[in-house]
């Protein structure tokens, strides 16, 4: 059975190789091939899953050693896979959602002449992501980590003819480098501390390691997680990453890749368990990001960017849960999976809306679309209900557990974290209701667009291609797009309940994460009640602001906070002032030092050596007699020195 593990990775990797090297003759079948291989990987995953269920809870881990990668004395790096319950969860999520999104992309990318290449990149992503979650050591994990970074870069910049997409890809890549640096430093620290970086030995040895070292490793791992999962302070790339095609946003920037940070922290649980300080920093990062993302999500008019803010916020929840330690690991992963369903569904819904609206992304130019795209409306609506935590749907179970676990952390920390999580739930309800209302309810603002404000310049490229006064004709998307949305909607509705009833998911993951219940100062019912109350407040506020009043087509100026939130809470301004300007000043001063000090020393040395050379050269005067004298002097010195040595 364990020999099948490599097949999981091999199928999409083969697809990527064939599609990217195959050339134009594969243009007509490329998308089918890519989808088929993704599906094959899913089937292999399902077979392995069925096999795993057939074994006892403690015997479920499979491992496969492929080859020795870097066999050096004292440094062994293997290409080896390890499939345990945690990896299995990810494999099913990645290949399952991945296959659905492949199917969706067949319709979504139909008119793109580079569709084959797109599917090649998607397959590449699947392969890299599977390596990431299947690796049995940190070095191979790093390979997958960089692989998904590459795929993400290629896909964000897929429409590279748009300067904004090219810039966004570059930004994502650069910001991720900072995080990747953290991972590589963490791996080096592990190697010096433990002498290995295989999961098993490293995680077993944490008990005998000093807390300081574990904290250092943990913080570096957190830095890596921040980069990949768009957590404060490395969050700035995710909003811009929405320049990529929508299926990419759904798969990579919502359901799978951005959750790699959560995987990393949960996988390294033993390290964090031994480093409470690092854990505290993790929870703080999670809490700050969940508010940050939620606030940004409230102010965005671009539907995808609003959803991106939401993604950031939801991952904040997961990171927060992962930082809670054994109380929270299970819920972090559970929320990750349910979020994978409903956020992918929401993005696919957004893509479907854009598909019907000439690629318009501004929600202020939507409205009343429920009549025109009923399937999208229903699936998007179910995703919406799931994410805000409507009782009985997926998000309700997973988010509620995280809030509960935050309170269970105990002490002042528990209260603060729990309150932040509750507040986040309220804001989530607010901004998601806002998205829902602005898109599917209210006036059909797109109708009046041409007549109501004819002078208004339109910045969207879509409007340019379709002509300034061409009114969109909203319509339902083709079958290949709606079916994945329907499937994901099922997941959004039922996954949470399925996982939570009888604590199925907890028992499933327990052998890996070692669950701990903690002692909540509040009863579960109280927390659920409080969540319901803030949910209702959030929805009501949004309804009052957007449902009762007409939504202006041009965004009002808004309050200071709104304006800041529209600019992603000034993250780019902050980066510009601190990093770009600071970097410029640093380089300028370094150049100054280089010109004056370094060059001065170098040129001075060169000049003095040259001068010495000129003087020594004069000794070579061409007279054999002086040469003979120098030889005589030389031999005299030689003899004298030899005798002196003996005397000494």
């Amino acid at each position: 059975m364990e020999n099948l593990i490599a097949l999981l990775v091999a199928a999409p990797l083969l697809g990527a190789a064939v599609l990217l090297c195959g050339g134009r003759r594969l243009d007509r079948v490329g998308h089918w091939l890519g989808t088929l291989l993704a599906a094959a990987s899913f089937v292999v995953g399902a077979v392995l899953f069925a096999d795993m269920l057939g074994r006892g809870a403690e015997e479920r881990t499979l491992s496969q050693h492929l080859f020795s990668w870097i066999p050096v004395e004292g440094f062994q790096a293997d290409v080896a896979f390890q499939l345990d319950q945690l990896s299995m969860t990810f494999v099913l999520l990645i290949t399952g959602v991945g296959t659905l999104i492949h199917i969706y992309s067949i319709g979504y990318m139909e008119h793109d002449e580079r569709r084959r290449r797109f599917f090649g990149y998607l397959n590449l992503f699947l392969a890299a992501m599977l390596i990431l979650v299947l690796a049995d050591n940190y070095l191979l994990l790093y390979v997958g980590w960089e692989g998904v970074g590459l795929a993400s870069y290629l896909l964000i910049g897929f429409w590279q003819h748009k300067p904004s997409a090219a810039t966004a890809a570059k930004k994502a890549f650069l910001v991720n480098r900072v995080g990747d640096m953290g991972l590589s430093i963490a791996i080096m620290l592990m190697f010096t501390t433990f002498g290995t970086f295989a999961f098993g030995p490293v995680l077993e040895a944490t008990g005998e390691t000093s807390e300081g070292k574990l904290t250092a490793i943990g913080l570096m791992l957190l830095l890596a997680a921040c980069g990949k999962s768009a957590q404060v302070p490395l969050q700035s790339w995710l909003g811009d990453a929405m320049e990529g095609p929508t299926p990419v946003s759904a798969l990579i920037h919502a359901a799978t890749m951005v959750t790699a940070g959560v995987y990393l922290i949960v996988r390294s649980g033993a390290i964090f368990n031994g480093a409470p300080d690092a854990q505290l920093v993790v929870t703080v990062v999670g809490a700050v990001t969940l508010l940050f993302g939620a606030i940004v999500g409230c102010a965005k008019d671009d539907i995808k960017k609003a959803l991106a803010g939401s993604t950031m916020s939801q991952i904040g929840y997961m990171i927060l849960a992962a930082g809670l330690g054994p109380i929270g690991y299970v819920f972090a992963i559970m929320h990750l999976v349910t979020h994978g369903f409903f956020k992918a569904g929401l993005f696919l819904g957004a893509g479907s809306v854009m598909h019907g609206m000439n690629d318009e992304v501004d929600m202020r130019k939507y409205g009343g679309l429920r009549k025109y795209m009923p399937v999208t409306f229903v699936t998007f609506g179910l995703g919406y209900l799931a994410i805000i935590g409507f009782p009985g749907l997926s998000g309700f179970f997973s988010k509620d557990k995280i809030i509960e676990a935050a309170f269970a952390k105990g002490g002042a920390e528990g209260w603060i974290l729990g309150s932040v999580a509750l507040l986040g739930a309220a804001i989530t309800a607010f901004y998601m209701t806002r998205v829902m209302i602005m898109t599917f309810f209210g006036e059909e603002r797109w109708r009046h667009r041409a007549t109501a404000s004819p002078d208004q310049p339109s910045a969207e490229p879509a409007a340019e291609t379709h002509g300034e006064h061409d009114e969109p004709h909203p319509h339902e998307s083709p079958r290949s797009m709606t079916i994945p949305m329907i499937v994901l909607a099922f997941g959004s509705v039922f996954a949470g309940g399925f996982f939570s009833i009888g604590d199925r998911f907890m028992h499933w993951l327990e052998p890996v994460t070692r669950h701990d219940h903690g002692h909540s100062p509040l009863s579960a019912a109280t927390v659920t009640g409080a969540t319901m109350v803030v949910l209702i407040i959030g929805v009501a506020l949004a309804y009052v602001q957007y449902g009762r009043r007409p939504v202006p087509v041009t965004a009002p100026r808004g309050s200071l906070l709104t304006r800041a939130a529209r600019r992603d809470l000034l993250q780019d301004d902050f980066n510009h002032v601190v990093l770009v300007r600071g970097g410029e000043h640093l380089t300028r001063s370094l150049v100054y030092v280089d010109h004056t000090l370094v060059d001065g020393v170098v040129n001075g040395t060169a000049a003095s050596v040259g001068g010495l050379s000129g003087r020594l050269r004069k000794m070579q005067n061409g007279y054999a007699r002086s040469y003979a004298v120098s030889m005589f002097g030389g031999v005299a010195v030689l003899i004298a020195a030899t005798l002196l040595m003996r005397a000494v």
């Binding site: 050596v609 061409g622 054999a624 003979a628 030389g634 031999v635 030899t642 040595m645």
Partner: protein, 554 residues
């Protein structure tokens, strides 16, 4: 002594019956097969003299080249054969009644000298570079050595198509002496070998076709200073004999470390006198340092390298250095190891001075041949750093460095012969400006050699330098390595400066032309490039070879 006298000596010796009062004189045994490389070369040189006497002028050149090439090839084959039969390792021993050592270092260096000599002979034989004079193709050597420069006699000799084909037997004699030099196992053999290879070199230096006055001046300087140093060497030999009562390496070494304490009654006053030992050793070492061009005995190098015909310069710079370093190695490792606490600190000083002075003075040179001369001084310093490591690695790294360095040197000087203007070779650096634009191939080849001199990775210079510095550092001379690396950095400056000059300067309007050589010079340059790259990219086989060969027989 007449022939009959010799005869009577022999009969007397054999007539002396066992048990007589007169000690029996053993019949000298000569292992001809083991000495065959030297014998072949010397024999070919004698044959060359006969060719000069008996073969018509028209065909002499071809006969001489043929004999020289065949002899050097055959001698190299003999060396390889000896090495293959284990004379470099298991069967290493001292041959010819204690005069010659046949061991790994000797065979390795002999092989190197023979190959370098062969490649140098190719450049000697080159006849396509100079314009045809009076219907005759001419080489780098004067038409008639005896004619006064610029005289009518010289013109007449040129017109008559005279050539100095004696250079080939002279070169063979030099090679013969060089073969003996590193394998000499007693001080007298050492001295005779020194003279055997030095005298032909003095002559060769004087034979340039162009700039003959400079050439003759160089030869006279070389001869005067060379004799001066030979005198020191000889005096040193006398003092060492006075100290040890023997000229044999093994015996001297034993006397120094005290395992032999027999007193020769005739030398009772001097034997065991440490002053004689120290002064004698210093003088012998000085004689060898002169040959390798170490500071402060280096002054002849730039003048002679500049004045000598360029093929001869290449030959001297490569083969002489190999032979002299071989002799120095054997002297320091076999004869004087017991004295190393005395000479090592002194040699430290010599090494540092040599490396720094060579590199620093080269910076301000404007003539390419003088530049290469100073570069060879700096390299002598680097090699010396390996020599004084006093470890087995020291020996093998020096062997490797010498092999690598000699081919680069011959190749580089061969390239110098190609760049010409109306006055012959254009050696002033300013004329080399923009050469890379006009003759990219020649400039690129020269750049490869310069990079090898500078010790840039993927060239033989790097492997060699790495080996000697490693040996020096492991031998406890870390500070020396630091100075060595600093000098390398200084040296890199002027090598790279030539590359910059060739490739990034505007060519001059009246710049030199690059002559198209015959396959002979092309072979010399090609071998240089090939060895440079092979020893740079895949040095391990040759490092292993040098390692195997790195044990002296005692």
């Amino acid at each position: 002594m007449s022939a009959s006298a010799v005869h009577s000596l022999w009969t007397m010796a054999s007539a002396a019956a066992p048990g007589d009062a007169i000690d029996k004189i053993d019949t000298p045994t000569i292992e001809y097969a083991q000495l065959s490389p030297t014998l072949i070369v010397i024999g070919a040189a004698v044959l060359g003299i006969l060719i000069e006497a008996f073969v018509p002028r028209k065909t002499r050149y071809y006969a001489q080249v043929f004999v020289a090439v065949v002899a050097l090839t055959a001698a190299f084959a003999a060396v390889v054969g000896l090495a293959a039969n284990g004379y470099g390792t298991t069967k290493a021993h001292i041959a010819a009644m204690g005069a010659i050592a046949v061991d790994g270092p000797a065979l390795f260096l002999q092989g190197t000298i023979l190959l370098a000599g062969l490649v140098a002979i190719f450049t000697f034989a080159e006849r396509r570079l100079d314009p045809v004079a009076h219907g005759n193709r001419v080489d780098s050597f004067a038409a008639q050595a005896g004619s006064v420069p610029g005289s009518e006699g010289e013109q007449a000799a040129t017109k008559a198509g005279f050539t100095t084909t004696e250079v080939f037997p002279l070169a063979l004699f030099a090679v013969g002496g060089m073969l003996v030099f590193p394998s000499a196992n007693d001080l007298l053999t050492l001295f005779i070998a020194l003279e055997v290879f030095s005298l032909p070199l003095y002559l060769l230096c004087a034979l340039a076709r162009r700039k003959r006055l400079m050439s003759q001046e160089a030869a006279v300087k070389y001869f005067l200073l060379g004799s001066f140093s030979s005198a020191f060497l000889l005096f040193g030999i006398a003092l060492l004999y006075g100290y040890a009562g023997s000229v044999s390496y093994g015996t001297i070494a034993k006397v120094i470390d005290g395992s032999v304490q027999e007193i020769n009654p005739a030398l009772a006053d001097t034997m065991g006198n440490d002053a004689l030992l120290l002064i004698g050793a210093a003088m012998i070492v000085m004689g060898l340092l002169f040959k390798v061009g170490a500071v402060p005995f280096h002054m002849w190098t730039p003048d002679v390298y500049e004045g000598a015909p360029t093929p001869v310069t290449g030959f001297m710079a490569a083969a002489t250095k190999v032979a002299a370093f071989g002799a120095l190695l054997r002297l320091l490792y076999v004869v004087l190891p017991g004295l190393r606490w005395d000479w090592r600190p002194v040699m430290w000083g010599v090494v540092i001075l040599t490396m720094l002075a060579g590199a620093i003075v080269a910076i301000t040179q404007t003539d390419i041949k003088r530049l290469l001369a100073y570069s060879s001084i700096a390299h002598a310093g680097f090699i010396l750093a390996g020599v004084i490591a006093m470890t087995p690695d020291g020996i093998s790294s020096v062997l490797f460095y010498l092999a690598a360095y000699s081919f680069v040197t011959i190749g580089a000087f061969a390239v110098v012969t190609l760049v010409r203007d109306a006055g012959g070779e254009a050696t002033h650096l300013s004329k080399w400006a923009g050469l890379g634009r006009r003759s990219p191939l020649v400039a690129a080849v020269f750049a490869v050699f310069l990079l090898a001199f500078a010790g840039i990775p993927l060239t033989s210079g790097f492997s060699g330098k790495f080996a000697v510095f490693k040996a020096a550092a492991e031998g406890g001379a870390g500070a020396l390595v630091v100075v060595g690396v600093l000098s390398s950095a200084i040296a890199a400056f002027f090598y790279i400066r030539v590359i910059v000059l060739m490739f990034f300067s505007e060519p001059k309007a009246d710049g030199p032309t690059v002559a198209v050589p015959s396959p002979l010079t092309m072979t010399a340059i090609g071998v240089g490039v090939a060895v440079t790259l092979v020893l740079g990219v895949a040095p391990q086989y040759f490092l292993d070879l040098a390692n195997q060969a790195g044990v002296f027989v005692r």
